[in-house]
């Protein structure tokens, strides 16, 4: 392996990992705090990309980075409303985890179909955030990729600070550890669930806008990403932010290497095999919390 290939793989790996990480963090937070496995998370990704596309096409005078920034609070609201309308009302029922599981699946189908109906089946494309390429150490990296990496890393760091330093972040961690205890000390758990979902929506939406320019947008574009995020989250430990980080990077790196040497189409099967092995031998994942 030449040093050029190595660096190129490293850069791709870090970029891919960071983006998967964003997506996976949304899932992990919702599971850790809300105890919900949100199968509609992929639909959040899809809709984030579509909304950005709609804004970009509907308001051509808006600079694209501005569109990106506007999409974020829209997706936050999307997630928060989803929780408020559908998920949290069901928590009161016994056996709600199973019900919610299927409801999120049903919602995923609904949202995918809605996208199909509203936007039509033709593939759409999103432009990259900035055009142009960089030349680093002999390999070519697009500006968009570099920027994505920067954005992803900043968000991860920001999220870490948010969770450890702010009141809202700490509330989230409290609810994740002990929902009833958190209620007893006066934390408004329903609101915490709401903005956790909102955060997940925003993270998925950002991932959508960052990743979409590299592929196209179509109604079920969110699924492969969801599957990978799913695997990362389980591998790292459902509910553990640290675990998700490590898992995203390990799996992202391995995917890039496999894509390079064997072929990109084996990436997904590889993920799924890892997933299965992890579940059978260590269901709690790398840093996982107790079993089901």
């Amino acid at each position: 392996m030449t040093s050029e290939v190595l660096i190129s793989l490293l850069i791709s790996g870090v970029r891919v990992s960071a983006l998967y990480c964003l997506m996976a963090l949304g899932l992990t937070l919702v599971f850790g705090v809300g105890k919900v496995f949100n199968y509609a998370h992929g639909a959040f990704f899809t809709w984030g990309a579509y909304i950005a596309w709609a804004l970009h096409n509907g308001f051509p005078d808006l600079a694209y980075p501005v569109v990106f920034v506007i999409t974020i609070p829209i997706m936050f609201a999307f997630g928060a409303v989803f929780d408020g309308l559908i998920i949290t009302p069901l928590r009161r029922r016994p056996g709600w985890m199973f019900t919610v599981f299927i409801v999120t699946l049903g919602s995923a189908l609904f949202l995918d179909s809605l996208a199909l109906v509203v936007f039509g089946p033709r593939y759409k494309s999103l432009p990259p955030l900035i055009e142009g390429n960089l030349h680093i150490a002999g390999s070519v990296v697009s500006n968009h990729d570099a920027l994505s990496l920067l954005i992803a890393v900043s968000i991860v760091i920001g999220l870490g600070l948010f969770l450890s330093r702010t009141m809202q972040g700490k509330s989230m961690r409290a609810v994740a550890q002990d929902t009833v205890g958190a209620q007893m000390v006066g934390i408004p758990t329903n609101i915490v669930f709401r903005y956790t979902f909102g955060l997940a929506g925003a993270l998925a939406g950002i991932s959508g806008v960052l990743l979409a320019p590299k592929t196209f947008i179509f109604p079920i574009v969110g699924w492969p990403i969801l599957i990978k995020a799913f695997v990362i989250v389980v591998f790292g430990g459902l509910g553990s932010v640290r675990g998700t980080l490590y898992a995203a990077f390990i799996l992202g790196m391995i995917e890039v290497v496999i894509s390079y040497y064997i072929g990109a189409v084996w990436a997904l099967p590889f993920f799924l095999v890892v997933f299965w092995i992890a579940l059978v031998f260590k269901p709690q994942g790398l840093f996982g919390l107790a079993e089901g």
């Binding site: 985890m97 199973f98 019900t99 699946l105 099967p269 997933f275 299965w276 579940l279 089901g292």
Partner: protein, 326 residues
């Protein structure tokens, strides 16, 4: 749920004569045949999820394994569909047991996650398996149909063949539910610690329910592939997956034979809504969410509650009349 025998016999008789009523309309008979197939698949799924509370979401994957096995055996080795279906069912049962083994120590939602993983793994594997004869993304076509006395079945033949398997499989499921095995499933579902302390071997029954539901599902997968003549990874799409789940939920989880009612209702609705195109999936998603929110015990649960309500009203009336006369 105890539906009285008369209702069962009447319903079965109605199903038996349906194709005669619609004999001028092959399309309707086709839909009814599909409804029969899905009834069995949904009932087998209900056995493991609704009765045993093992959240297996790999059932469609098992359906596909059964289907591909039987088809490939017929296409490449000239095996008769009867044998192929049986082999497919057996292989699928084995797969079910292997999956069960890997899920033994997993609780609740983790089983869902693991088995859904199987469901998600299969399409890429099938695509990559083109070199091994799986037909890649287009799947397998020209699958030999079931033949009786050298002639492929006609539409009546298919319907009654499906009906026969339907009767056999539902009878099997009914026997299991009402046997001590069914009791074991329910006891493990309701209070697994207490059940274990009373001598119920949890691992054994978990494996059993995986194996049985996998066998039945694999058998139907084989039948389906010979009936339609084509099988491809599209069966593993989210829409069909959720459709079968909707059948279970709509009828009533853990309320045999709710899944049968659900299967007929959803299959018919699915066909009626075909002209609407992609709105169909929209409605399906909405139906699932709505059923879970407003009718969590399914149709049979609703009927049960209505029955309870009516008997309470009847009692109240009787009491009032009694009061009036005294």
């Amino acid at each position: 749920m105890n539906i009285n025998k008369k209702t069962v016999l009447i319903s079965l008789s109605v199903i038996a004569i349906l194709p005669l009523i619609f004999r001028g309309n092959p399309y309707i008979i086709h839909i009814l045949t599909l409804a029969l197939i899905w009834s069995v698949v949904a009932s087998a799924w209900d056995l493991i999820v609704g009765y045993a509370y093992v959240f297996s979401f790999g059932q469609m994957a098992l359906f596909v394994i059964g289907g591909y096995t039987s088809s490939m055996m017929a296409l490449y080795w000239g095996v008769s569909p009867f044998l192929g279906m049986a082999a497919g069912a057996g292989l699928t049962a084995l797969a079910g047991i292997v999956i069960g083994l890997s899920c033994l120590r997993l609780r609740g939602m983790y089983v869902a996650v693991a088995t859904l993983g199987l469901h998600l793994v299969l399409p890429p594997l099938l695509l990559q398996g083109r070199a091994y004869g799986t037909g890649g993304s287009r799947g397998l076509g020209s699958i030999p149909p079931i033949e009786v006395l050298g002639q492929p079945l006609d539409m009546f033949g298919w319907y009654y063949a499906a009906f026969g398997i339907f009767l056999a499989m539902l009878f099997l499921i009914d026997r299991i539910i009402n046997s001590s095995t069914g009791l074991a499933f329910v006891s493990l579902r309701d209070a697994h610690a207490a059940a274990s302390s009373l001598g119920v071997n949890e691992y054994r029954y978990k494996l059993m329910v995986f194996g049985i539901s996998a066998f039945i599902t694999g058998l139907m997968g084989g039948f389906y592939s010979h009936y339609i003549g084509v099988i491809s990874p599209t069966i593993l799409g989210t829409d069909i997956f959720l459709m079968v789940i909707a059948m279970m939920l709509f009828g009533g989880l853990g309320r045999f034979p709710g899944a049968v009612i659900g299967a007929f209702a959803i299959t018919l609705a699915n066909e009626l809504l075909r002209p609407v195109g992609h709105f169909r999936h929209l409605i399906l998603g909405a139906v699932i969410v709505a059923t879970l929110i407003y009718m969590p015990q399914g149709l049979i649960g609703l009927l049960e509650s209505l029955g309870n309500l009516m008997s309470r009203v009847k009692n109240r009336c009787l009491n009032m009349r009694h009061k009036e006369t005294t």
